[in-house]
């Protein structure tokens, strides 16, 4: 690898916006056949760097080299023509068109009089699909494919040119574990064909599984490149945030109180069946399982968004029936939902109004909303949760992911719930804020809240939970205490390998 020409080299890239130096002399070298991770917290400059590389932004200083030839990227199409291809986190496919049409969108092969050469289109597409080893054909409608297969179409799109470098931006965000395996095979295949791969992700396990080198950005500056084989998560994290992240097993314990929530034999359609568990005050119960195991659906049922088909819910020993979120809120159940921007926040609304939304009807002076009471609540939880915002008037959409999540958490804490359910508490949040939120969850338990944490990240579940409920395909497979759980037994349980429920 050492004596090869780099597939792609960025040299001293500077990009300034008025008042901000978003990129401050960043250099990056990607060798052919290398998977190169690009890491950094939100706002570190990864996206800006990629926009420069993709021809969306022009750099103020610096130079891009492709195979050591200096080059200027004038537009995304131009970048693609030069062999630099992006696989975006958010898919940009036309659902109603076929796989082939999507792959060659904008460059369909033509016959005379501008007619589309369908035969050639399908032949060329099938040839590309064959190299990707996928189970669908050129004529399939994209809307009928799974998310993972749609991502394959995105990748296939990249292969219509002879790519020199392919950039994957958080490609696994919406993939199941099985689908990830396929994606990693494709990346390995690109690698073996001598393509340089840039892989952007927050997920350490993946980074350590598939990358050769890791480059880290912080505050728009290049912080260094590590050989993946010679480093570890701690070192990378330290480089990213300038300090270490504690992801050890949860060891703190505190007095557990009464049983706050008990669920007996709860079922909902085909989503989950015969689920029983309880949560005590001061306890964090983690729900771990694969996507589709029914965890989120349980939370939604407890929160009154779904009607259970069987089973009972008891709060502080009393059986309750919950038919709407308003019911749930009244009974002291709060849900920090999985999709922060879609379900948790109104991005065009300011911080304060978002935070007080569930109780706005109660914060009144006469018939009017009491400004003072609202600001008081906002101030209290801004301080308590250390929310960094210029003021309550700031639109939530302008905050970072971590601060947005704290607004949602603050919104529910200010309701003084009996039971707090947190679904995927740190999805899409940078590493620094992640550990803050983990600490916050532990603290809440210490203050006597009964907390349910649903997560797809094993380190997270292990780190915050007192007990872990492992789910597989809508059923509770096993319950572990923090002392007895091991990664292996947990993986077995969520894969449906443990046979009997606890």
């Amino acid at each position: 690898m050492t004596d090869q020409t780099p597939a792609l080299r960025l040299e001293g890239i500077v990009k300034t916006f008025p008042g901000v130096r978003a990129l401050d002399g960043v250099s990056l070298t990607v060798m052919p056949g290398e998977v190169h991770a690009l890491m950094g917290e939100n706002g570190a400059g990864k996206s800006t760097l990629m926009k420069v590389l993709g021809g969306i932004l022009a750099p103020n200083e610096g130079q891009i080299f492709i195979e050591e030839q200096p080059t200027v990227m004038s537009s995304p199409m131009n970048a693609k023509a030069k062999g630099v291809v992006f696989i975006h986190q958010e898919l940009s496919l036309a659902d109603e068109l076929t796989v082939a049409e999507n792959i060659f969108l904008g460059e369909l092969p033509k016959k005379s009089f501008g007619r589309v050469d369908w035969q050639r289109l399908y032949d060329e597409t099938d040839a590309i699909l064959k190299t990707l080893n996928v189970g669908f054909a050129a004529r399939t409608r994209v809307g009928d494919l799974s998310i993972a297969n749609q991502q394959m179409v995105e990748i296939a799109r990249a292969l219509t040119v002879e790519p020199r470098a392919v950039i994957f931006d958080e490609p696994t965000a919406s993939l199941t574990d099985a689908e990830k395996v396929v994606l990693f095979e494709v990346i390995a295949d690109l690698q073996s064909r001598g393509v340089g791969v840039i892989y952007i992700s927050h997920r350490m396990e993946e980074i350590f599984k598939i990358t050769d080198r890791i480059s880290v950005l912080r505050d728009g500056q290049y912080r260094g490149t590590l050989n993946t084989a010679e480093t570890n998560e701690e070192e990378v994290t330290q480089l990213m945030i300038g300090r270490t992240l504690d992801l050890s097993r949860n060891e703190s314990t505190h007095e557990l109180g009464e049983v706050a929530l008990e669920v007996r034999g709860l079922s909902c359609g085909g989503l989950f069946e015969d689920v029983s568990f309880s949560v005590r005050r001061g306890e964090v119960v983690g729900f771990y399982g694969l996507v589709g195991a029914g965890r989120t659906e349980i939370a939604e049922t407890l929160f009154g968004l779904r009607e259970p088909s069987a089973g009972t819910i008891h709060l502080a020993g009393e059986e309750v029936s919950i038919h709407s979120p308003a019911d749930a809120i009244k009974r002291g159940i709060s849900l920090v939902p999985e999709d922060r921007k879609g379900q948790g926040l109104i991005l065009g609304m300011n911080c304060r109004d978002n935070m007080t939304l569930p109780q706005v009807s109660d914060l009144t002076a006469g018939p009017f909303v009491s400004d003072g009471a609202e600001v008081a609540i906002f101030d209290q939880y801004r301080d308590k949760l250390d929310i960094r915002t210029p003021g309550w008037r700031q639109l939530v959409g302008n905050l970072s992911g971590g601060n947005q999540q704290k607004i949602v958490i603050g919104k529910w804490l200010s309701m003084r719930p009996e039971v707090l359910i947190v679904d995927e508490p740190t999805r899409g949040i940078d590493v620094g804020s992640k550990s803050e939120i983990h600490n916050l969850i532990r603290e809440l338990a210490a203050q006597g809240y009964a907390v349910i944490v649903i997560s797809s990240e094993m380190p997270e579940v292990l780190h915050v939970s007192d007990r872990i409920v492992a789910m597989f395909s809508g059923r509770v497979m096993r319950e572990f205490t923090a002392e007895e759980v091991t990664e292996d037994s947990l993986i077995q349980a969520i894969s449906g390998l443990t046979g009997k429920t606890a």
């Binding site: 916006f17 008042g19 308003a326 749930a328 939902p337 939304l357 569930p358």
Partner: protein
């Protein structure tokens, strides 16, 4: 932060462009024809905008709640015809509340379809535009409706009366604007309208009864339409079946012009009032410049397009964008 300042001027133009354009218009008109800023003309414009304005106040709630209401024009015709007909049959004292009840029933019906059944508001209210027109014609038998004794009824007070020199339509418009502005900006209900329009799913996840809030916005819209119908009927004391025809687009233009987003979640009553006045003054100005009345239909469309463009431009922070 960088993104905000980078396109500073362009962003400012995108956000405040409509006010800038309005100022330019006003100055140009005033120079071209000094009568334009004559106090009588100014009052005249406000008074003739009042009916449209009252309807726009209600539609503001609907639009902020994330929906459209294209039925207000034909609903206003309905209210006008009904109240004129009942005036002679049961007297004004009973006719007015009866008309309000019937109009509110129409609003409630739309509210059920859009709020509780979650049907697309564009389709529902476009259909209702036509259905209510049919209802009005069925009710009136297609004939114009006139009050028999036009000089002997106190009913004319809403359209023709005045208090301390201020015409009643302006007072009703102003009073309603103040009350609705307070409801929208200061009450929990108002906050919920913004929440539902801003992100309906997140509102639901916060325990807000989305269907009921949407239902209420249509009820408020129909209340405003009934008020507008009352002013219209009282002013002319006789009416055709098509008196409100086409007003739905002007109302929408005024609301969007004021800066409420068609996507929901933003806008204020104050801005809508500004939008109504801008529309009124521009139409008046063009008349004074000698443009044919019919040209207003074209101008209104141009204004809508301009306003929608600026709305989108404000969202993406520039007038042009390569993507979306």
């Amino acid at each position: 932060m960088a993104e905000l300042t980078r396109k500073g001027l362009q962003g400012f133009l995108a956000r405040q462009g409509i006010l800038v354009a309005f100022a330019v218009f006003m100055i140009a008109f005033a120079v071209a024809n000094p009568r334009f800023i004559d106090i009588d003309n100014v009052f005249g414009v406000i008074r003739s905008s009042a009916i449209l304005g009252v309807m726009a106040l209600g539609v503001t709630f609907v639009v902020i709640g994330g929906n459209l209401d294209l039925s207000v024009g034909s609903m206003m015709s309905f209210s006008t015809i009904v109240v004129l007909d009942l005036h002679d049959k049961i007297g004004p004292t009973l006719a007015i509340p009866s008309m309000f009840a019937m109009t509110l029933a129409l609003g409630a019906f739309i509210g059920i379809l859009v709020g509780y059944l979650k049907l697309n508001s564009l389709i529902v209210t476009l259909g209702m535009l036509s259905a209510i027109h049919g209802l009005t014609l069925t009710y009136s038998g297609g004939k114009n409706m006139d009050i028999a004794d036009k000089s002997g009824t106190w009913f004319s007070v809403f359209g023709q009366g005045s208090v301390a020199g201020l015409p009643m339509p302006i007072l009703i418009f102003a009073g309603l604007a103040i009350v609705l502005s307070i409801i929208l900006s200061r009450t929990p209900f108002g906050r919920k309208v913004y929440a539902v329009g801003g992100n309906g799913v997140a509102a639901t996840f916060s325990g807000i009864p989305r269907a009921r809030v949407v239902f209420m916005t249509y009820l408020m819209s129909s209340f405003c339409v009934a008020t507008a119908g009352l002013i219209q009927a009282s002013r002319s004391l006789g009416s055709q079946n098509t008196v409100g025809q086409g007003m739905e687009l002007e109302v929408l233009a005024a609301v969007i012009l004021g800066g409420a987003s068609l996507l929901g979640g933003s806008g204020t009553i104050f801005k809508t009032v500004i939008g109504v006045l801008i529309l009124g003054f521009i139409q008046n100005g063009l008349l004074l410049l000698g443009l044919a009345f019919y040209a207003q239909y074209i101008v209104t469309w141009i204004i809508i397009i301009l306003a929608v463009w600026l709305d989108i431009a404000a969202k993406r922070g520039g007038l042009w964008s390569r993507i979306a």
